[in-house]
């Protein structure tokens, strides 16, 4: 298949009916593989890896902390892409996917912040420090709250989709700006990246492989949740349309 054909295959899912039919078929596989990967990743990480020589067993919270932090950022990125698709091509499924992803991203941000605090207490001697990474995650959480609140506040679905999409784009620019502003404002306590593709900087192999499995599990869980919630949003909108039609008929 050429690229344009592939794109056409993707756009077919802009049809809500096709989207629902396909997601219903693939969802069980996503749920099952997410469950397997998370159970294997966490069990492997928690029970079959050695304690770190300095951090002891507290290091094992990494299997929750790193995947949730990655998804917190990537969920916003996904919302940015789907918002752009909505603004350009007016596919309702795309806007609803952005709406469906926001609470998941917010939850991931909270998980990352909480596990970070629990990890930070024994390691840094404090639950919270105004470290750039911690601070920018808190700001990211505020962006999620504003985005979700705007969706909830507007009644007309099309207006809501348009306004939240613009907010998502403007918010992305400001979120990146804040990230660098915060960097400038305070020196960090947080360690560098745990994983990277090009450098040899990442964590030791014993921790690395279970972490990868755990990350894969979180990503699969995220995909399953987004598909599921998008389906719910589509059905909720259908119900609203049907009820409106009945009211007109009555």
């Amino acid at each position: 298949m050429s690229l344009s054909q592939k794109m056409n295959a993707l756009w077919a899912y802009a049809n809500p009916k096709k989207f629902l039919a396909t997601t219903e078929r693939v969802l069980p596989f996503f749920w099952a593989s997410a469950a397997v990967a998370i159970v294997v990743g966490l069990a492997w990480g928690f029970f079959f890896t050695p304690d770190d020589y300095r951090q002891g067993s507290t290091v094992k919270i990494i299997y929750l902390h790193v995947p949730s932090a990655m998804l917190a950022i990537n969920a916003w990125l996904m919302m940015l892409v789907t918002s752009l698709v909505w603004l350009v091509r007016r596919h309702h499924v795309s806007a609803l996917a952005a709406r469906a992803a926001a609470p998941i991203g917010a939850t991931m941000t909270v998980i990352a912040l909480l596990t970070g605090a629990i990890w930070g207490q024994p390691m840094w001697g404090t639950w919270w420090a105004w470290d750039p990474r911690l601070t920018s995650f808190l700001i990211l959480f505020l962006f999620y709250l504003g985005y979700i609140a705007l969706w909830e506040a507007i009644e007309d679905p099309e207006t809501a989709a348009d306004l939240t999409s613009v907010l998502c784009i403007v918010g992305s620019v400001f979120a990146v700006l804040s990230r660098y502003a915060v960097n400038f404002w305070n020196q960090g306590l947080h360690q560098g990246a745990s994983l990277s593709l090009d450098k040899e900087e990442h964590v030791a192999d014993v921790f690395y492989y279970p972490l990868l499995v755990s990350i894969a599990g979180f990503i699969l869980l995220f995909i399953a949740l987004v598909l599921y919630r998008t389906g719910t949003e589509i059905r909720a909108r259908r119900i609203r349309a049907l009820m409106a039609r009945e009211r007109v008929a009555a």
């Binding site: 700001i139 505020l142 709250l145 609140a149 207006t159 613009v166 403007v170 918010g171 400001f174």
Partner: protein, 218 residues
Amino acid sequence: MIALLLRDLKLSLRAGGGFGLGLAFFLIVTTLVPFSVGPQSALLATIAPGVLWLGALLACLLSLDRLLALDWEDGSLDLLATAPLPLEGVVSIKALAHWITTGLPLVLAAPVLGVLLNLPAPGYGWLVVSLILGTPALSVIGTFGAALTVGLKRGGLLLSLLVLPLYVPTLIFGAEVARRGAAGMETATPLLMLSGISAAVIALLPFASATVLRINLR
């Protein structure tokens, strides 16, 4: 454009409440700070630049929900949208009017309130400079928030939730200029960053504000 600016200025001067309210709020916030943290002058001197910046920011936020809501209610926003002046120009003028009626008085009042908070002597100039450069960005970002929430009945609280995270970079660099200035340190880097943010925001954000206003007026 100038007619619109004059109209907005007259309205905010004569309609009462809007003009002095931001200033009064700024004064009250500054007065309350020593009550909450204690009257030690050394402590006040260290936190003075940050408190003044935060006070100015909140005072700016206070008047945002009036920025477009009144014109929305009486329908003059619809007239402005169909006028030959592009909507981008309209929101820029609205932001400018908001800055003249809210931002500029805050800048002028800040040194006086600095005395109350025992701001160190070298800090006054830098405080005024940072506020002059930073408050226009606050007005423009606030206009974007006001345009987003203009159609909502109880948009005020939501407006704060949307706008405050967007204020973070401006606040960081603005307060940093004032803080470093008061401590007698080098201020060039945050000053350049603050000017850059203000310039970019003034140049680009009116397009986003006009877009969301068009969606709301649909």
